[in-house]
């Protein structure tokens, strides 16, 4: 893909005679860049003190280190990577691979590099330090920052026109800054980035309108937060489709993270299926919360709860009493929540009868009717045998979750609000 119109022409050279020119140009660029690096690195020595501190903070942060350091290395690495490996189509290869990442030294170097290119290092450092000290950097922002760093550095500004060295330098700096800006809290930069995408897409359009040989168009105005997007070979380059492609890539990036989070989603490709799984998972989690809060409500005030006496007298039909009425008399509450073997059998029978009903809801109905000490393995449709109390909570909720998950294929597009009335009616149904 060397023939593409990316060549760093030194002076309006012919695009087509690529290889030799490219190599030479690359070498030149590389040396120049290295020189720049050296100069700036010396200038910014004092910044390293900031970063030793930061490195300490990060040492404590454990896992966070991984994601953030990746961003860091990536933000530095692109330049030699770019220059050496040429413009690979989709990936800037060599990211973080060649650079031996050393906790102590690596951080300092990398942060030094970042500070060089960034517009506001102390603030960034402060922001990051604050974030990590709070210890509340989420998985999400970690992953996203590392991923998005990768993502933005993949994108390069495109021109049908010749890409000059100067613009490439600007691009490199822009990329590094992008990498750096991802380290700070993502949400802060989000809006500005969105604005910049628009700005950038407009400027893309301008560039493609102008004729190519524009060496003198060294845009001195360094707009630091541009997202540079490259049009792939054989694809449209107008601003709309570019912006759309950026958006699509962002979405797919984030879907990948979701795939890691949601269990059992590695085989599913495509937005629709993934969304389905996500919806099921979130619904099941929310139901679990409801269920657990109900259990807690039952368990909490009744700390002097004597299990054995209370349901010995009451028969299973006690469960048919509606919840609101149960609340009224304290004697009644207990049997509703307790279960004993005959009750189990009966419920099991109900289970067999009611299989036609939407199973996850059914499972939940059953569980809300007897939250405390249910051996809930009876919910598993495969085994209708009695199980012995006491259950393990793992099994409880795991089964609940499994049932909901496996059989949640039939997604109802309305989540039922689990209000008291629904639960009451469910209880009636079970009888």
């Amino acid at each position: 893909m060397i023939n593409r119109a990316l060549l760093p022409a030194g002076g309006g050279e012919n695009m087509l005679h690529c290889t030799d020119m490219t190599v030479l140009e690359r070498q030149r660029a590389r040396i120049k860049w290295q020189q720049e690096q050296q100069q700036q690195f010396q200038l910014q020595q004092q910044e390293i003190s900031y970063f030793t501190e930061l490195a300490d903070v990060f040492h404590q942060a454990g896992v966070h280190e991984g994601g953030l350091s990746e961003v860091v290395t990536r933000s530095v690495k692109p330049d030699p990577g770019l220059v050496d490996n040429g413009w690979n189509n989709d990936h800037v290869v060599g990211y973080g691979v060649g650079l031996p990442y050393n906790n102590g030294l690596g951080f300092e170097l990398n942060y030094g590099a970042i500070s060089r290119t960034s517009s506001c290092p102390p603030e960034a450092v402060a922001a990051v330090a604050e974030a990590t000290v709070k210890g509340s950097e989420s998985v999400v922002s970690d992953m996203i920052s590392s991923g998005a760093g990768r993502e933005s550095s993949k994108k390069r500004k495109v021109d049908k026109a010749v890409a000059e060295e100067d613009t490439r330098d600007k691009r490199i700096k822009g990329c590094a800054e992008q990498g750096e800006s991802k380290i700070t809290e993502k949400n802060n930069n989000k809006n500005s980035r969105n604005n910049n995408t628009n700005k950038n897409s407009n400027s893309n359009k301008e560039n493609s309108d102008e004729t190519s040989k524009d060496n003198s168009k060294v845009s001195e105005v360094q707009k630091p937060d541009y997202i540079h997007v490259r049009a792939r070979r054989g694809q449209a380059t107008d601003s709309h489709s570019l912006a759309e492609r950026v958006r699509r890539e962002k979405i797919s990036e984030r879907m990948k993270y979701l795939q890691d989070l949601v269990p059992g989603c590695d085989k599913i490709t495509g937005k629709a299926g993934m969304l389905d799984e996500i919806i099921n998972y979130v619904q099941s989690l929310q139901r679990q919360v409801e269920f657990l809060s109900m259990k807690l409500a039952a368990a909490n005030p009744r700390l002097d709860f004597n299990v054995d006496n209370l349901f010995a007298k009451e028969a299973f039909p006690a469960c048919s009493i509606n919840f609101p009425t149960i609340g009224m008399s304290s004697d009644m509450t207990n049997p509703a929540y307790l279960q004993f073997n005959p009750a189990q059998q009966q419920l099991v029978a109900c289970c067999g009868l009611d299989m036609g009903i939407d199973p996850p809801d059914m499972a939940l109905k059953r569980t809300t009717s007897a939250p405390v000490s249910i051996p809930e393995t009876f919910l598993d449709s495969s085994c209708f045998t009695q199980t012995h109390p006491p259950p393990t909570w793992d099994a409880d909720l795991q089964n609940l979750y499994n049932v909901a998950f496996d059989q949640g294929r039939q997604t109802s597009f309305q989540t039922q609000p689990f209000t008291g009335s629904i639960e009451a009616s469910n209880l009636k149904m079970e009888m």
């Binding site: 998985v139 962002k250 989070l261 996500i278 919360v289 409500a297 368990a299 009744r302 609340g327 006491p390």
Partner: protein, 195 residues
Amino acid sequence: MSILERKKAIKLSADIALASTRAGRTCWSRAIIADASKDDDGKVLVQHLLSPESERLKKASTGLAMENKRVRCKKILKRSCCIKRVRKGASKVVLAKSISKRIVKRRTQVLKSLVPGGEFMDDISLIEETLDYMVSLRAQVDVMRRSLAKATEVVNGCAEYANKDEGIEEYNLYVREHDYMRKLMGNLYLIHRIE
């Protein structure tokens, strides 16, 4: 308090605690707090739970309500002006694409209804919020399960409920749970006091 009321209070306080762990930074947390502050009992809880923390958080959540109204109005306007083009005689590929688009759209709407405060966000931020919300929900479930185990242990005197040590893989989840657990415990006592 009856069972249901208690359950609602527990759930509400749990949600508020959960939201406060991600205080201010995520949209769903602000939405939860904003919703909770609307009715009376919610307001009480919010004030109790969040008063040590920022005033600005509450302001942020109130600001959110205004913003959401604006977004909603804009969307209504947009939808009324938009004309849907129906292609006739389209090829199978195009047809399949349009069908899948419709499916995706419908499912994103469902997801928006699930995630608190989700209706006013665009796709990208919706997915981010979902991610965060999912992790928080898992933490919530975990914490509640543990506290329930402890509670029933006290009740039944059985030690077997007590030690439910599922390995928590992610550091973040653990940190969040810790934070969250503290708050939830506090909330539960608070509820008893309020009753």
